[in-house]
Each structure stands twice: as C-alpha cells, then as structure tokens.
C-alpha cells in the first residue's frame, strides 16, 4: 500500500502505509504531512539483537535510545517490531510477518488513545449526534444499541451525525466528530438516512440465529456491512449538552437523571473495555523499560472526560427495546 496521510481535526496527524481500521477515511488528506504525530510503517527492518539478548517468554527485547526493539527470532519468518518515542513523535515500524501475526491494529489503537490523552483530548467509546451545534453523547457497552439510536435520530436537518462508536472530547466541553464506517446488520435500526443494503437473501438468513452462527463461523459469511456515512450528514464539532447512558433493563423502563461523575465513570469504563490501555504487551514492556506512566495517562483521561461533560445534563435510559431509546432521547431533548 502507498503511504497515506490522515489529519484528525488537526489534533493528531498520522502517516501510514498499512490499513488501520480505526482511522476513518474522512480524515484522509492528499498533501504530505511533514511532521506526523504517529508514523506506522511496514517494511524491512535491519536490526539484529545480539544472540545473548534476554528472552521474555517467546521473544527477545531490548531498549535502545528511545526505542523498544522486539525480535521473535523465528526461523524463516522475519518478525520484528520497533516502537519509538511514545512521548514525542511516535514511530511504529515492523516487518511483514509481524503485521500478519502481531495484531498491529490493536497496538495502534492503544497508541492513538494515549496520544489523544497526551494532547489533552479523550477518545471515548460513545456515539454522538449534533443538533445546531449542541452535541448529544450516547454511551453504552458494546452491542447495546448505540448505532441504532444514533442512526434513527439522524434526519439530515435537525440532527446530524458525528459518530456512532468513538467521539473525541476536550476538557472545555467540546466534542469532535470521529466518523468511522458504521456497522449495520438487519437488526440495526437505521432511520431514514442510511439503510441496510444486504438484499433479501441476507434478510432471510437473519431470521435464523442458528443459520447465522453456522454461516459466520464456518463460511466466512458476513451478515453486517460497514457503510460510510455521507459527508453532507456529518457535523464536525459542537458543545456537549447532554449525555445519555444506555443501560438496558428488565422490567422497569425509564429515564433517570444521574450525577455527572457517575456518567463520566461509565464513559471511562466502556472506553477501557474497548480501548484498554493495558491490553497490548509490547506497550506494557515499553512502559516498563522507559518508565512511561500509563496509569497516570489513564487517570488524566478520566479527568478530561469529567471536565468535558461538567456542564452537560446526564441521563440513564433503561429500556427493553432499542426503539424506546430513540423516543426517550427525543423526549429529553
């Protein structure tokens, strides 16, 4: 792949020659960016760790200058990784073999999260819609109805799209769009602006849980599709007015006003589940060797979220049906 450049609201610039699913095409820029904040490059790496280097479990590692070197030393497979300067202009370099087996995407996701925090922003696991400059955050755990709620609210007029999965928050109460492709299945509520185009066959398949299970697990079948939201439906930034936490329910449905600190806690929790700062072992090794305080950054993320939603009203929505979330959000607004 050729080298591509991304500029995320001018906050973070990325240079890469690898496909990174977390980066929305929306941020792609044509011009070459000279000083990217994160560089992700696959290619040949000429590093040789001496034979007597220390082995950690199944790989060899060494800290040299500001870089962490990891070499798996597998015969016939050239699997190497370099992580350089996490606190400045970060560079991640690796070989083809590592790209194939090394979960580079997850490594990048975590570095992106940390980079945002270093710059004073929080990338959080929340959907967001924008109504004339007012932002409504919609936060929940995975598969609890964020996408359905966001898409059903869109009308291209009163409500515009900012994101359905990740949103950037700043401590002065501003939110910024992060329009990744939206994952839509026949079960997603989509409203009028975007719709499922999987065809009748897929809709029929969707009626049987068993069939989905068999097809998806054994036959590389993908029921859901990833759709780009039309750019005219996207709004770039706004002020956070209200926060909605989708909480599911068994019996009682209803809207409950909650403390801002409680809402911040929940946003942080669901973000930690999706973008866990401690999940990637190569980063943990980096933190260990170069004394990078990941926990401090994590605490700072909490602080940014708390400040960002300090002036917003926060609600917890309980409902058994996803449709009800949409009605409740509209009711509150």
């Amino acid at each position: 792949m050729d080298v591509e450049y991304y500029s995320i609201h001018d906050i973070i610039k990325v240079k890469t020659n690898v496909k990174l699913p977390i980066l929305p095409d929306y941020f792609k820029v044509k011009d070459e960016l000279t000083t990217p904040d994160i560089e992700v490059l696959v290619g040949e790496l000429k590093i040789d760790l001496p034979e007597d280097k220390k082995r950690c479990g199944i790989f060899f590692l060494q800290g040299r200058g500001s870089s962490l070197f990891i070499d798996y030393k597998i015969p016939f497979l050239d699997a190497k990784l370099i992580i350089d300067d996490l606190e400045g202009k970060t560079k991640i370099k690796f070989t083809k073999a590592l790209k194939k087996f090394g979960k580079v995407e997850v490594l990048f996701n975590t570095i992106l999260l940390l980079k945002f925090i270093q710059k004073g922003y929080a990338l959080v696991h929340s959907g967001c819609v924008n109504s004339f400059g007012n932002c409504y955050l919609i936060s929940a755990m995975r598969d609890m109805g964020k996408t359905s709620t966001v898409l059903s609210l869109l009308d291209g007029n009163k409500f515009k799209f900012m994101s359905d999965d990740l949103t950037i928050l700043r401590d002065d109460g501003k939110a910024f769009s992060y329009p990744t492709k939206v994952g839509i299945s026949p079960f997603t509520l989509t409203g009028n602006m975007v719709s499922y185009t999987g065809g009748r066959m897929k809709k029929l398949i969707a009626k049987s849980q068993l069939l989905i299970f068999i097809l998806e697990n054994f036959l590389k079948f993908e029921l859901s599709e990833r759709k780009e939201i039309p750019h005219e439906l996207i709004e770039d930034e706004g002020t956070i007015e209200k926060v909605f936490i989708l909480a599911g329910s068994r019996e009682k449905e209803g809207i409950r006003k909650i403390d801002n600190s409680e809402a911040a806690r929940k946003i942080l929790m669901t973000t930690a589940e999706l973008l866990d700062p401690f999940r990637v072992y190569s980063l943990n090794y980096y933190s260990y060797i170069f004394d990078l305080d990941t926990l401090k950054l994590f605490n700072k993320e909490k602080e940014i979220i708390e400040k960002a939603i300090a002036d917003a009203e926060c609600f917890e929505l309980r409902a058994n049906k996803v449709e009800r979330y949409v009605e409740m959000v509209k009711e509150v607004i």
């Binding site: 007597d52 280097k53 220390k54 082995r55 950690c56 479990g57 199944i58 790989f59 060899f60 590692l61 060494q62 798996y72 030393k73 597998i74 015969p75 755990m141 598969d143 299945s185 079960f187 997603t188 849980q209 989905i212 029921l223 859901s224 909480a247 599911g248 329910s249 068994r250 019996e251 409680e262 806690r265 929940k266 942080l268 929790m269 669901t270 930690a272 589940e273 866990d276 401690f278 999940r279 072992y281 943990n284 090794y285 933190s287 260990y288 060797i289 004394d291 305080d293 990941t294 926990l295 994590f298 605490n299 909490k302 058994n320 049906k321 996803v322 449709e323």
Partner: protein, 338 residues
C-alpha cells in the same frame, strides 16, 4: 458437586466454593467460616427479559437488583453467569456448562475479584515471587517468564532462605508480605540446588530445545510441554509472613549488577508488570458489572498504587540488570551481604 470447600487466605479473605478454583490448596481449611467470597456452580433459573427485537450478539447481559446476569441462550444446555455484591460480599454463580466452556474467564474473574476484595481491605496481590531471610523478605517481580521462579528456587536453602511464593505475593499497606504458595512450574533450564536436592531441575532435552525460539513458540502454545516439574513446596520450607526489606526487579541489561532505583519508578514498574499479567479490564463480565452496577473499577488501579506506596515505604529498591538467568540469585545475595 454439593460438597463445599473452604479457603482462608491468611485470615484476610475467606472463600466458600464447590468447584476447583485458582487459589493454592495451601489455604484450604476444614472449618466452615463465614465467607467473604462465594463461588458456586449451580443451576441458574433466571430468564432473559422478553424482547421483541432480536439482537445480534452472542449473549444477553443485564442487571437485576444488585446482580449482573449473563445468558448465552444456548439451546438445551444452560450457559449462565451471575455476579453479585462486589462492594460487600461478592458472590459468583455459574452453571456447569458456563464453567466448562469459559473456564479461563471464570478463573480470571475469580482472581480479579480476589484482588478487588484485597484492595478493599488494604492489601494487594503483586505479580512477584518472594523469598524470606531471617525476619525479613525480598519481593522479586519480573515481566512474563523471565526468571522469577528460577531465582527463588536457587536461593532457597531451608535455613536462611525460605520460600514465600513464586508467582503472586500479597502485600499489606503496613509493608508485610504474605505467602501465596501455588504449584510451581519450572521452566526449561538447568538448576542445581545443593542444599535442597529435590528442588533441582535438569530437563536434559527441553533445556537444549528451548535455545531455539521456534520450539519456545510451540511450547508457549502448549505450556504443559514446557513445564518440566510441577512442584509442591513442603510446608516446612514456607514462611507465612515477613516484613518486606528489599525489592529486586528482574530486567535485561549487560551490567550484571544490582542498581538502586527510585521508589516511584520501582512502584510504576511493579504496577505495570502486574497489570500485564493480571489486567483489571481483562474480563468482559467484570467490565459489564462495573458499567451496569455502578462499581468503580477504574479507580482500583490508583488504589493499588496507593497500597504499594505505603507498603513499600521503607523498602530498598534495586533493578537486577542481566541477560543471564544465573546471575540473578548471585546479585541478590551480594546486596544482602552489604
């Protein structure tokens, strides 16, 4: 299956269970105490709330009163999990099928809940081995499989040096370490212990094979091939409790020297290497519990750091930098001689 077992971890935490759990047998007791944590396998008869709309997900998860419920809605078999009351007396319940299919999840969950309960009481688990000498002890944390067990087993002599733990140690706010003696799996290295011959390890084949990384990778996938011995430490060689005097971080380097390091730096390193193997966010059920039942998981790491700060107050911290496994015990002995 109705037989209950009781564990008492140094009288700090008591557990009641009817299944095998990842807690050392060393803590098994006959007396039936009032437990702090209950871990129970039983038939669970709750049902998923009625929904008109099907959802694309492997499982349903929801909150009921103060409990988190997870149901995989599998036909015929019942695959369910329930977590209750983490703030007070945690209860984990699951069905037989859940345990069978998600044993790893259940074990992670148990370890994490144990850690949370310890933190509540002013203690913390540390991913570290520990050896006692006279009335004191030394913590030896390290990343991954880099030589904790080797170092401890080499040091033991049954007189001056006694065993406390090889993988996890409990540390109190007051600076005391408590033993946590699980079964010890030794790696593919040659170890000679002249004072206690049965601790010696000499895996002729695997120690040679382990020099090739491809073999290590295969072994890594099948740990049971890798572990050459599964030792149970005899009770007379174990010290239960001692004041922590030293902290030795095992790491790579060419110096072959024990270097004194800053306390805060040492604490960050202990923390990150603990999280690397025992990630607080590593269990989906606990994450859901935290989100839905309003339990503040995110601040627990800072709590752990505070306990480490207080517990390691008077402790001298060293980094053992070497690429040679056999140097670590020597370096420790040298520091103790000073």
């Amino acid at each position: 299956m109705n037989r209950f077992y009781f564990y008492s971890i140094h009288d700090i935490i008591r557990i009641r269970t009817n299944v095998e759990i990842p807690v050392p047998d060393y803590f098994k007791v006959k007396d039936e105490y009032e437990p702090d944590i209950e871990i129970i396998q039983e038939d669970l008869n709750f049902d998923v709330p009625k929904k008109k709309k099907k959802k694309r997900k492997d499982y349903s998860v929801w909150k009921e009163d103060s409990a988190l419920l997870i149901d995989y809605e599998t036909p015929v078999l019942s695959t369910k999990l329930m977590i209750e009351d983490l703030q007070t007396k945690p209860k984990i319940r699951f069905t037989r099928t859940y345990l069978k299919h998600f044993k790893k999840h259940v074990f992670t969950l148990i370890n994490l809940i144990l850690q949370l309960k310890l933190i509540q009481k002013g203690y913390t688990l540390v991913h570290s081995s520990c050896v006692s000498f006279e009335d004191y002890c030394a913590l030896i944390p390290a990343l991954g499989s880099t030589g904790k067990t080797f170092t401890v087993l080499s040091l033991l002599d049954g007189k001056k040096f006694k065993f406390m733990s090889d993988d996890l140690t409990i540390l109190s706010r007051e600076g005391e370490a408590f033993s946590y003696p699980g079964k010890i799996g030794t790696g593919p290295y040659v170890l000679k212990n002249e004072s206690i011959p049965f601790l010696s390890v000499n895996p002729k084949i695997s120690s040679k094979l382990a020099k090739f990384s491809i073999i290590s990778i295969i072994f890594g996938k099948f740990p049971w091939l890798y572990k050459s011995k599964n030792l149970e430490m005899p009770k007379e060689l174990i010290t239960d409790k001692a004041k922590v005097k030293y902290l030795f971080l095992i790491t790579s380097g060419e110096e072959n020297k024990a270097t004194k390091i800053d306390k805060e730096e040492a604490i960050s390193k202990v923390l990150i290497e603990h999280i690397d193997t025992h990630n607080l966010f590593g269990n989906y059920a606990l994450n859901y519990y935290s989100f839905l039942c309003n339990f503040d998981l995110c601040t627990q790491l800072e709590e752990m750091r505070n306990i480490l700060r207080r517990g390691l107050k008077g402790v001298e911290c060293y980094e053992l930098r070497s690429n040679n496994l056999y140097k670590y015990p020597e370096m420790i002995k040298e520091v103790l001689r000073r």
